[in-house]
Every structure is written in C-alpha cells, then in structure tokens.
Amino acid sequence: MTGSITGPTTLRPSRILGLGGYRPSRVITNDEIIQNIDSSDEWIRTRSGIERRRWATDEETVVAMSVSAAGKALADAGIRPEQVDCVIVSTVTHLYQTPAAAVEIAHKLGTGHAAAFDISAACAGFCYGLSLASDMVRGGTARHVVVIGVERLSDLTDPYDRSTAFLFADGAGAVVVGPADSEDEQGIGPVVWGSEGEHQTLITQREEWRDAMFGPDGPRMPHLIMEGNPVFRWASYEMAKVARQALDAAGVSVEELDVFAPHQANMRITDAMANALMLPDRVAIARDIAQQGNTSAASIPLALERMLETGDATSGDLALVIGFGAGLVYAAQVIRMP
C-alpha cells in the first residue's frame, strides 16, 4: 500500500430549502373519463376521492414540466442553478431508456455540468430521491441537490380499463435539498424504506416494450395494470406501520406532527392510513388527489405545495411523507417544511 484516500469524516446537516410544482393545463373531469368505461362520477368519487385530474398536452413533456417545477423550487430556495451539484429525477414515464431525463433537465435549468440521473421507484420515487439527496448533502458529495418527481401517467393509462382509467394523472414536483445551519436544524429524518418483489405483479405494465411493439396485439402502449384490492390492503395497513417506523426513526411523536402527506394514491388509502396512525385532529392531511388524481412520483411535492399555498402547512412544520407503489416499493421520512 502506497497511499491513502482522503474524504469527509463528519456528517453535515441537510434540509429542504425550497419547493415547486407544475400542474398540467388540461383539466379532465370524471364525466370525460366515463365516456370510455362503465362507471360514474359518483363511483369514482366514492372509490377514490378524485373529482378531476390534469393530463399533460404534447408540449408539457416530462422535461418541460420538470424544468418548470425545479425552476420554482430553486427560486423558492434562493439558490442559483449554477450552485446545483446534482439533479435526481424520479419517473417511470420518460419514454427513453437513455439518456436520462435528468441530464436534459439539468442542462435546461442552467446548472452547468451538474451530475444528473434518473431513478425508477414508481410512487415511492420522490421519497427515494429525497433520501439519496439528503445523504449526499450529509456526506459532502453535493452541496445542493434538486430532486424531481415527474410523471405523464396518461401516456401509460388504458382509457378503457375501468380500474385505472380514472386514477392516473400527470404533473411534476421538485425540491432543493441543501445544507442546514446546524445539526439541531436537520430537516430530513432517516428514511425507512424497502421493496417487496414477491408482489411485483400487483402493479405493473401489461407487457414489456418489445412485446408491446412486436407481439401479436402490437404495436400498442404497454399500459399500466393494477390489482386494486390487494394494493389497497397493503397500502392502508402495511404502510401505516412503515409510517410509524419513520416517526420513531426521526424521534418525532404523532403529537408533535403538523402535516401528514402520503403519496396521493387514493383518498380511501389516505383515510385508512390516517385512522391506523391515530393522528390527532390537529394534523393537516394532504388531499391533493381530489383535484390532481394519482401522479405517482410527483404527488407528494405537489400535495405539499398546495398545503403551503392554502395555509394548511407553514414553513417549519414537521411533515410525515410516505411513498409506496409498483414493485412493491416504499419509503417514508419526517421532514421540516421549507
């Protein structure tokens, strides 16, 4: 051995510095959805809590929505693009295998040559990305990291599938993660995360791209399919346990919590989780799904943005966030609102 490698030896405090969202321009009502499926506005509202959702136009691409949301998050944080060291994008609907959406987004944001990559963790993707970003800042790998959750799920939604056609939607949400002033002001709690690959068929695509293009029924889009009832049971009860573990890991009690912002999968899941967690009435609960539908990786930052706008949450509040979805995968942490 001839030399030694040096690197940081201490952890630095991290927090969310800013947040921004992008909601696509096309509002799609339940009445439009039921033109293709045997359902009703009332059925959709009672089964999911969804009153309307937004779908992107051709111009509202994964990259365009992300640049808009991340630009807002940077402005909110007071951070210039060239101060960004890394861009992490969570999406399952950037329909190029390569290059990553993050690279074009980083370029269009004006970050110079920031590191940039995509992750695939479905509806848990925002919380996965947040965990990576926080650890980068804590470990000294990066000073400022942009985390984006973005989806155009309408591209992969089968309009004739009555169990999913009303559910999925489009949008982008972003945060800037950076240094906190002191360890006492650490703003992102330890992540509790995992995967359950034995349940991978519960939410998946109907086929892989090659079969979708060249199979006997092709060419067609490899639409998302989901077994709603087992997913509901898993999300409502197993995820409540994970949420509780995230509170414990952060040393925060439900009495100290101000905000509960689960992935906006279904209002009924949110209600069942909130019941299982026995949240006090004073905890504000994210209900963005009513207006936005299920936007997968984008749903948590979009929900947080709306809560800050309406006053349901304020800067400095402690929020429990949990993402869960196809995989099955999940991740939860406690954060301080920017």
Partner: protein, 81 residues
C-alpha cells in the same frame, strides 16, 4: 371461542364503525354488497378489523366468497376453531 351470536354482533360493531351502517341491520341473511351497500374497499377494512378482533386470518382470495354476514360469521368460526 366466541359464540355465533357474539361473532355476529362483533362484526356488526365493526361494520358500523367503518361504514356507518346501523349495527342492528347487520343480520345473518344480509348481503354485504346488495343489502348493506358496502363496497369492496370498505369490505377490506371490515376484514382487516375482523382479523384483529377475532384473531383469525382471512386471505384475499377468501374475501370475495364472503357474500353474506352469515358467510363471514361461519368463516371466522371455522378459522378460529
């Protein structure tokens, strides 16, 4: 082990708590879907609460066979014995 009537009334309490259907309406011959207007998601909530209350396991595949209150009561009786 609880008697048949105890299981029925315990189940009725759960149904009332989750769906607001009056407990007295939850009689043996009633269909969860047609008579009590309980949808598939509420049914899952009822099943999970019943598992906890009666200390039994009701697998996903079984839930769709529990059409009436009587079906659920007999399943819980059998699973618990």
């Amino acid at each position: 082990m609880a008697s048949t009537e105890e299981i029925r009334s315990g189940l009725a309490e759960i149904v009332n708590e989750i769906t607001g259907v009056p407990a007295d309406d939850v009689q043996m011959e009633k269909s969860f879907t047609d008579d009590l207007d309980i949808d598939s998601l509420s049914m899952i909530e009822v099943v999970v609460a019943a598992e906890e209350k009666f200390g039994v396991k009701i697998p996903e595949d079984e839930v769709q066979n529990l059409a009436t209150v009587s079906d659920a009561v007999s399943y819980i009786e059998k699973a618990g014995s």
